[in-house]
Protein backbone atom coordinates (compact mmCIF):
# COMPACT_ATOMS: atom_id res chain seq x y z
CA UNK A 1 0.00 0.00 0.00
CA UNK A 2 1.40 3.44 -0.85
CA UNK A 3 2.79 5.32 2.12
CA UNK A 4 0.36 8.22 1.69
CA UNK A 5 -2.55 5.87 2.36
CA UNK A 6 -3.44 5.55 6.04
CA UNK A 7 -3.30 2.01 7.35
CA UNK A 8 -6.48 0.26 8.44
CA UNK A 9 -5.21 0.42 12.01
CA UNK A 10 -4.94 4.22 11.86
CA UNK A 11 -8.40 4.54 10.31
CA UNK A 12 -9.82 2.33 13.05
CA UNK A 13 -8.35 4.58 15.75
CA UNK A 14 -9.79 7.63 14.01
CA UNK A 15 -13.17 5.96 13.55
CA UNK A 16 -13.22 4.94 17.20
CA UNK A 17 -12.63 8.60 18.05
CA UNK A 18 -15.77 9.47 16.09
CA UNK A 19 -14.33 10.26 12.67
CA UNK A 20 -17.11 9.15 10.31
CA UNK A 21 -14.98 9.70 7.21
CA UNK A 22 -12.44 7.19 8.54
CA UNK A 23 -15.15 4.56 8.90
CA UNK A 24 -16.43 5.38 5.41
CA UNK A 25 -12.92 4.77 4.06
CA UNK A 26 -12.80 1.39 5.81
CA UNK A 27 -16.12 0.53 4.17
CA UNK A 28 -14.76 1.52 0.76
CA UNK A 29 -11.67 -0.62 1.26
CA UNK A 30 -13.41 -3.77 2.36
CA UNK A 31 -16.92 -3.75 0.90
CA UNK A 32 -15.95 -5.59 -2.30
CA UNK A 33 -14.24 -8.45 -0.50
CA UNK A 34 -17.09 -8.78 1.96
CA UNK A 35 -19.59 -8.73 -0.91
CA UNK A 36 -17.58 -11.33 -2.83
CA UNK A 37 -17.54 -13.65 0.17
CA UNK A 38 -21.27 -13.17 0.76
CA UNK A 39 -22.26 -13.57 -2.86
CA UNK A 40 -20.20 -16.70 -3.43
CA UNK A 41 -21.30 -18.24 -0.16
CA UNK A 42 -24.96 -17.42 -0.67
CA UNK A 43 -25.27 -17.27 -4.49
CA UNK A 44 -28.10 -14.81 -4.19
CA UNK A 45 -27.55 -11.07 -4.71
CA UNK A 46 -30.37 -10.03 -2.36
CA UNK A 47 -29.06 -12.24 0.45
CA UNK A 48 -25.53 -11.04 -0.22
CA UNK A 49 -26.66 -7.43 0.05
CA UNK A 50 -28.40 -8.17 3.35
CA UNK A 51 -25.24 -9.82 4.66
CA UNK A 52 -23.15 -6.89 3.44
CA UNK A 53 -25.34 -4.36 5.24
CA UNK A 54 -25.51 -6.44 8.39
CA UNK A 55 -21.73 -6.84 8.41
CA UNK A 56 -21.00 -3.13 8.30
CA UNK A 57 -23.80 -2.19 10.71
CA UNK A 58 -22.40 -4.75 13.17
CA UNK A 59 -18.90 -3.41 12.56
CA UNK A 60 -20.05 0.15 13.15
CA UNK A 61 -21.84 -0.80 16.35
CA UNK A 62 -19.02 -3.03 17.54
CA UNK A 63 -16.18 -0.67 16.70
CA UNK A 64 -16.04 1.01 20.14
CA UNK A 65 -15.36 -2.42 21.66
CA UNK A 66 -12.87 -3.56 19.01
CA UNK A 67 -9.57 -3.88 20.89
CA UNK A 68 -7.35 -4.35 17.86
CA UNK A 69 -6.04 -7.73 19.02
CA UNK A 70 -6.78 -9.04 15.53
CA UNK A 71 -6.45 -7.00 12.36
CA UNK A 72 -9.49 -5.02 11.33
CA UNK A 73 -9.83 -7.21 8.23
CA UNK A 74 -9.85 -10.44 10.24
CA UNK A 75 -12.37 -9.00 12.67
CA UNK A 76 -14.57 -7.72 9.84
CA UNK A 77 -14.49 -10.98 7.86
CA UNK A 78 -15.41 -12.89 10.97
CA UNK A 79 -18.50 -10.70 11.25
CA UNK A 80 -19.20 -11.18 7.53
CA UNK A 81 -18.75 -14.93 7.79
CA UNK A 82 -21.21 -15.10 10.68
CA UNK A 83 -23.67 -12.94 8.77
CA UNK A 84 -23.54 -15.31 5.80
CA UNK A 85 -23.79 -18.37 8.04
CA UNK A 86 -27.04 -17.05 9.47
CA UNK A 87 -28.45 -17.09 5.96
CA UNK A 88 -27.07 -20.49 5.08
CA UNK A 89 -29.05 -22.44 7.61
CA UNK A 90 -31.52 -23.65 5.03
CA UNK A 91 -30.26 -26.91 3.47
CA UNK A 92 -28.42 -26.53 0.18
CA UNK A 93 -28.03 -29.06 -2.60
CA UNK A 94 -24.83 -30.97 -1.94
CA UNK A 95 -24.88 -30.30 1.78
CA UNK A 96 -24.85 -34.03 2.40
CA UNK A 97 -21.29 -34.08 1.06
CA UNK A 98 -20.24 -32.40 4.28
CA UNK A 99 -20.12 -35.52 6.37
CA UNK A 100 -18.56 -37.61 3.66
CA UNK A 101 -15.71 -35.20 3.02
CA UNK A 102 -15.21 -34.27 6.65
CA UNK A 103 -15.03 -37.84 7.86
CA UNK A 104 -13.30 -39.62 5.03
CA UNK A 105 -9.64 -38.98 5.61
CA UNK A 106 -8.60 -40.87 2.53
CA UNK A 107 -11.28 -39.66 0.13
CA UNK A 108 -9.95 -40.32 -3.33
CA UNK A 109 -11.32 -39.24 -6.67
CA UNK A 110 -12.97 -42.07 -8.50
CA UNK A 111 -11.57 -40.75 -11.75
CA UNK A 112 -8.42 -38.93 -12.61
CA UNK A 113 -9.01 -36.88 -15.68
CA UNK A 114 -6.45 -34.82 -17.49
CA UNK A 115 -7.61 -31.45 -18.74
CA UNK A 116 -7.74 -31.04 -22.46
CA UNK A 117 -6.73 -27.39 -22.61
CA UNK A 118 -5.45 -24.55 -20.50
CA UNK A 119 -8.53 -23.30 -18.66
CA UNK A 120 -6.95 -19.93 -17.96
CA UNK A 121 -7.64 -19.00 -21.57
CA UNK A 122 -11.34 -19.57 -21.00
CA UNK A 123 -11.53 -17.54 -17.84
CA UNK A 124 -13.51 -14.69 -19.29
CA UNK A 125 -16.02 -17.07 -20.76
CA UNK A 126 -19.33 -16.69 -18.94
CA UNK A 127 -20.03 -20.37 -19.15
CA UNK A 128 -16.72 -21.14 -17.46
CA UNK A 129 -17.43 -18.71 -14.67
CA UNK A 130 -20.83 -20.29 -14.13
CA UNK A 131 -19.23 -23.73 -13.99
CA UNK A 132 -16.75 -22.46 -11.41
CA UNK A 133 -19.51 -20.87 -9.33
CA UNK A 134 -21.60 -24.01 -9.52
CA UNK A 135 -18.65 -26.11 -8.41
CA UNK A 136 -18.05 -23.90 -5.36
CA UNK A 137 -21.75 -24.02 -4.51
CA UNK A 138 -21.66 -27.81 -4.20
CA UNK A 139 -19.03 -27.64 -1.47
CA UNK A 140 -20.24 -28.05 2.07
CA UNK A 141 -20.13 -24.80 4.00
CA UNK A 142 -17.05 -25.75 6.02
CA UNK A 143 -15.02 -26.25 2.86
CA UNK A 144 -16.57 -23.41 0.87
CA UNK A 145 -15.78 -20.81 3.52
CA UNK A 146 -12.09 -21.67 3.88
CA UNK A 147 -11.68 -21.89 0.11
CA UNK A 148 -13.32 -18.52 -0.55
CA UNK A 149 -11.39 -16.75 2.18
CA UNK A 150 -8.04 -18.26 1.24
CA UNK A 151 -8.07 -18.72 -2.53
CA UNK A 152 -10.60 -16.14 -3.70
CA UNK A 153 -10.41 -13.33 -1.14
CA UNK A 154 -6.66 -13.88 -0.80
CA UNK A 155 -6.36 -14.08 2.99
CA UNK A 156 -3.41 -16.01 4.38
CA UNK A 157 -4.11 -19.41 5.90
CA UNK A 158 -3.51 -17.89 9.34
CA UNK A 159 -5.98 -15.06 8.72
CA UNK A 160 -8.61 -17.40 7.27
CA UNK A 161 -8.23 -19.73 10.25
CA UNK A 162 -8.69 -16.77 12.60
CA UNK A 163 -11.84 -15.66 10.74
CA UNK A 164 -13.30 -19.15 10.97
CA UNK A 165 -12.07 -19.63 14.52
CA UNK A 166 -10.37 -22.92 13.69
CA UNK A 167 -6.78 -24.07 14.03
CA UNK A 168 -4.31 -23.43 11.24
CA UNK A 169 -3.92 -27.17 10.81
CA UNK A 170 -7.68 -27.65 10.42
CA UNK A 171 -7.74 -24.78 7.93
CA UNK A 172 -5.04 -26.47 5.84
CA UNK A 173 -6.85 -29.80 5.87
CA UNK A 174 -10.15 -28.22 4.86
CA UNK A 175 -8.53 -26.10 2.19
CA UNK A 176 -6.89 -29.14 0.65
CA UNK A 177 -10.16 -31.05 0.63
CA UNK A 178 -11.96 -28.11 -0.92
CA UNK A 179 -9.38 -27.81 -3.67
CA UNK A 180 -9.49 -31.55 -4.41
CA UNK A 181 -13.28 -31.49 -4.54
CA UNK A 182 -13.25 -28.51 -6.89
CA UNK A 183 -10.61 -30.14 -9.05
CA UNK A 184 -12.88 -33.13 -9.42
CA UNK A 185 -15.89 -30.95 -10.26
CA UNK A 186 -13.98 -28.91 -12.81
CA UNK A 187 -12.58 -32.04 -14.38
CA UNK A 188 -16.09 -32.74 -15.61
CA UNK A 189 -15.93 -29.40 -17.37
CA UNK A 190 -12.34 -29.22 -18.57
CA UNK A 191 -11.60 -32.90 -18.77
CA UNK A 192 -10.19 -34.59 -21.84
CA UNK A 193 -11.43 -38.00 -22.97
CA UNK A 194 -8.41 -39.64 -21.28
CA UNK A 195 -9.75 -41.11 -18.08
CA UNK A 196 -7.79 -43.26 -15.73
CA UNK A 197 -9.97 -45.37 -13.52
CA UNK A 198 -8.90 -45.28 -9.93
CA UNK A 199 -9.58 -47.80 -7.30
CA UNK A 200 -11.06 -46.51 -4.10
CA UNK A 201 -9.90 -48.52 -1.11
Amino acid sequence: MPSDQPRDEDLVIQAQAGDEAAFTELVHRHEHRVYTLALRMLRNPADAEDALQETFISALNGLPNFRREATFATWLYRIAYNATLMRLRKPLPGASLDEVIENDESAMPRELTDWSHDPAAALLNQETREAMDAAVATLPETLRSIFLLRDVDGLSTEEAAAVLNISIEAAKVRLHRARLALRDKLSNYFGAPRVIEKEVP
Binding site: Y35, F147, V152, R179, R183, L186, S187, E199
Partner: protein, 88 residues
Protein backbone atom coordinates in the same frame (compact mmCIF):
# COMPACT_ATOMS: atom_id res chain seq x y z
CA UNK B 1 -5.28 -49.57 -15.46
CA UNK B 2 -3.22 -47.78 -12.89
CA UNK B 3 -3.69 -48.14 -9.18
CA UNK B 4 -2.85 -45.70 -6.50
CA UNK B 5 0.15 -46.70 -4.50
CA UNK B 6 0.66 -45.83 -0.88
CA UNK B 7 3.19 -43.23 -2.04
CA UNK B 8 0.58 -41.68 -4.34
CA UNK B 9 -1.82 -41.39 -1.43
CA UNK B 10 0.78 -39.84 0.83
CA UNK B 11 1.77 -37.37 -1.84
CA UNK B 12 -1.81 -36.49 -2.67
CA UNK B 13 -2.35 -35.47 0.96
CA UNK B 14 0.56 -33.06 0.69
CA UNK B 15 -0.15 -31.49 -2.67
CA UNK B 16 -1.76 -28.28 -1.40
CA UNK B 17 1.13 -27.68 0.96
CA UNK B 18 3.51 -28.47 -1.90
CA UNK B 19 1.80 -26.01 -4.25
CA UNK B 20 1.61 -23.37 -1.51
CA UNK B 21 5.36 -23.68 -0.96
CA UNK B 22 4.94 -24.80 2.64
CA UNK B 23 7.03 -27.97 2.49
CA UNK B 24 10.68 -28.37 3.29
CA UNK B 25 12.97 -28.71 0.30
CA UNK B 26 13.83 -32.36 1.03
CA UNK B 27 10.16 -33.30 0.92
CA UNK B 28 9.65 -31.25 -2.24
CA UNK B 29 12.51 -33.13 -3.88
CA UNK B 30 10.93 -36.43 -2.85
CA UNK B 31 7.60 -35.41 -4.34
CA UNK B 32 9.21 -34.18 -7.55
CA UNK B 33 11.07 -37.43 -7.93
CA UNK B 34 7.81 -39.34 -7.61
CA UNK B 35 6.08 -37.02 -10.07
CA UNK B 36 8.73 -37.75 -12.68
CA UNK B 37 7.73 -41.40 -12.68
CA UNK B 38 3.99 -41.22 -12.02
CA UNK B 39 1.62 -39.96 -14.71
CA UNK B 40 -1.39 -40.05 -12.42
CA UNK B 41 0.17 -37.85 -9.78
CA UNK B 42 1.50 -35.51 -12.43
CA UNK B 43 -2.01 -35.05 -13.79
CA UNK B 44 -3.28 -34.57 -10.27
CA UNK B 45 -0.76 -31.88 -9.37
CA UNK B 46 -1.20 -30.13 -12.70
CA UNK B 47 -4.98 -30.00 -12.57
CA UNK B 48 -4.99 -29.08 -8.88
CA UNK B 49 -2.63 -26.23 -9.64
CA UNK B 50 -4.86 -25.09 -12.51
CA UNK B 51 -7.89 -25.21 -10.22
CA UNK B 52 -6.21 -22.95 -7.67
CA UNK B 53 -4.93 -20.56 -10.34
CA UNK B 54 -8.34 -20.33 -11.96
CA UNK B 55 -10.06 -19.26 -8.78
CA UNK B 56 -7.26 -16.91 -7.75
CA UNK B 57 -7.54 -15.19 -11.11
CA UNK B 58 -11.30 -15.18 -10.96
CA UNK B 59 -11.20 -11.91 -9.12
CA UNK B 60 -13.52 -10.22 -6.75
CA UNK B 61 -17.04 -9.13 -7.30
CA UNK B 62 -17.57 -5.41 -7.35
CA UNK B 63 -20.37 -4.03 -5.22
CA UNK B 64 -22.97 -2.75 -7.70
CA UNK B 65 -23.56 1.04 -7.47
CA UNK B 66 -27.14 0.69 -6.21
CA UNK B 67 -26.04 -1.79 -3.53
CA UNK B 68 -23.26 0.57 -2.47
CA UNK B 69 -25.71 3.45 -2.34
CA UNK B 70 -28.13 1.55 -0.11
CA UNK B 71 -25.25 0.45 2.13
CA UNK B 72 -24.12 4.05 2.53
CA UNK B 73 -27.68 5.11 3.34
CA UNK B 74 -28.21 2.48 6.06
CA UNK B 75 -24.82 3.25 7.60
CA UNK B 76 -25.58 6.97 7.68
CA UNK B 77 -28.90 6.23 9.38
CA UNK B 78 -27.15 3.95 11.82
CA UNK B 79 -24.56 6.60 12.64
CA UNK B 80 -27.30 9.16 13.25
CA UNK B 81 -29.13 6.68 15.46
CA UNK B 82 -25.97 5.97 17.43
CA UNK B 83 -25.40 9.64 17.96
CA UNK B 84 -29.02 10.10 19.01
CA UNK B 85 -29.74 12.53 16.21
CA UNK B 86 -33.07 12.45 14.41
CA UNK B 87 -32.81 10.92 10.93
CA UNK B 88 -33.32 13.39 8.11
Amino acid sequence: MDHLTETCREIKDKLSAYLDGELESALCAEIEQHLRGCDDCRVMVDTLNKTITLYRNYGQETVPPDVHERLTRVLNLQQLKTQGKPAE
